[in-house]
């Protein structure tokens, strides 16, 4: 008794089904149209064409907010390179790094148990040295 169809006949049947389905689909029998790469861009806005100033203006201190805006917007528009104002730091970066280094130890000490206090041995200067890797039991690697 044959259990199902042969693999070959199965394949043939599948192919025939696919053919029927794809032939049913409609398509236009036209040659491929090449899309011309257009290098002309159409814009209807005058902003690109002419450098126009900002639309709100105030003179002789009539509206101080608008005068501030005028300076801002017209400077932006003229693309003056605004030098990156380096924010004056009260504390320099190096000092910050040093503080953080010790801070980690101080806070860590607070939460460490008595046994772990050994890891937070203090140096001569009072700086807390970084935690050394604990010697734990390692599984034998086969």
């Amino acid at each position: 008794m044959q259990r199902g169809l042969d693999s070959e006949t199965k394949k043939q049947l599948e192919e025939e089904e696919k053919k029927i389905i794809s032939e049913e689909h409609w398509y236009l029998d036209l040659p491929e149209l090449k899309e011309k790469e257009s290098f002309i861009i159409e814009e209807q806005s005058f902003l690109l064409c002419e450098d126009l100033l900002y639309g709100r203006m105030s003179f002789r201190g009539f509206n101080p907010e608008v005068e501030k805006l005028m300076l801002q917007m017209n400077a932006k528009h003229k693309a003056e390179e605004v030098e990156d104002e380096t924010v004056e730091l009260d504390v320099s970066d190096e000092e910050m790094a040093r503080r953080y280094e010790t801070l980690v130890g101080t806070i860590g000490k607070k939460f460490a148990r008595k046994r772990d206090h050994a890891n937070y041995e203090e140096d001569e200067n009072g700086d807390i040295t970084p935690i050394k890797a604990k010697k734990m039991f390692l599984m034998p690697q086969d």
């Binding site: 209807q44 005058f46 100033l53 639309g55 105030s58 009539f62």
Partner: protein, 275 residues
């Protein structure tokens, strides 16, 4: 004025496209075709001109050109759709062959995306304000497009208020939409324009002339007395000064300066400065 007109008429009669470079600053009429610089080389004297060898000999280097207001793309050429003077701007930085446009004059405004305009609130329906900007239909302005506006904290806008905003959607197929906020969420001077003052209408060309970076009229006006002006690209100007008389003088000057020569203008300013 007769000479450029006759030149234009000749070219129309000849119906040969002219090179855009040669027509800069001259009057062009609708229907003319303009050649861009690269095509002009190709149609030169029978290809006898030796062109410098480019590294990629195969591809023709195409420079992107922007055609601005008054021009349309027609195949590889530019087609003029408005009468006026042809202008060109070199590209400042980066790629591109620059911008060509026609400097024309008109009173009717057509909404364009990105333009800052003055609108009058005509209706308030639900969450949207209808704002008249002088175009074919009123623009819509959502109440959330103001700085610091939330659903609980609504902006204080009434019917009849003046709004300075910019378009985010403006094409011939859809209703224009405007906002009073920029892409970062800041107002940048947009929003409801304050109390008092006078709103009047001028031609669009005058607005562009007044907003040019080197405009003498604005510099002279600014020296007269303390005042505030808002220019909308839809041809509307709002002015405010300390007294009504000063406001009216200012409005008259701005309306009239379009048709005055610079000498007449200086006369008027000197007379004003005296009084």
């Amino acid at each position: 004025m007769a000479e450029p007109a006759s030149v234009a008429a000749e070219s129309l009669a000849g119906s040969r496209a002219r090179a855009a470079r040669t027509v800069l600053g001259q009057v062009v009429l609708p229907g003319e075709e303009l050649l861009l610089p690269e095509q002009e080389d190709a149609e030169g004297p029978g290809g006898a001109v030796e062109r410098p060898l480019s590294l990629n000999a195969g591809a023709r280097s195409r420079v992107r050109v922007v055609c601005g207001p008054g021009l349309r793309r027609c195949g590889d050429r530019l087609l003029v759709t408005k009468c006026g003077r042809l202008r060109h701007k070199e590209p400042g930085s980066g790629s591109g062959g620059g911008v060509y446009w026609v400097d024309s004059q008109q009173k009717r405004y057509v909404p364009v995306k990105g333009d800052h305009v003055i609108g009058i609130v005509t209706a308030k329906s639900g969450d949207i304000f209808k704002v008249d900007v002088g175009g074919s239909e009123p623009a819509s302005l959502s109440y959330l497009s103001f700085e610091g506006a939330t659903k609980r904290n609504r902006p204080n806008v009434q019917v009849g208020d003046l709004i300075y905003g910019q378009f985010v959607v403006a094409n011939k197929d859809m209703e224009p939409e405007m906002v009073c906020i920029d892409s970062c969420g800041r107002a940048n001077g947009m929003g409801v324009i304050g109390q008092d003052g006078l709103l009047f209408k001028v031609t669009l060309g005058l607005i562009r002339k007044l907003l040019a970076p080197d405009c003498e009229i604005i510099q002279e006006v600014g020296k007269l007395y303390p005042l505030e002006i808002v220019f909308g690209m839809n041809g509307r100007i709002w002015v405010k000064a300390k007294t009504i008389q000063q406001t009216l003088i200012l409005a008259n000057i701005l309306e009239a300066c379009e048709h005055m020569t610079s000498d007449q203008r200086k006369q008027i300013f000197s007379r004003l400065a005296e009084s």
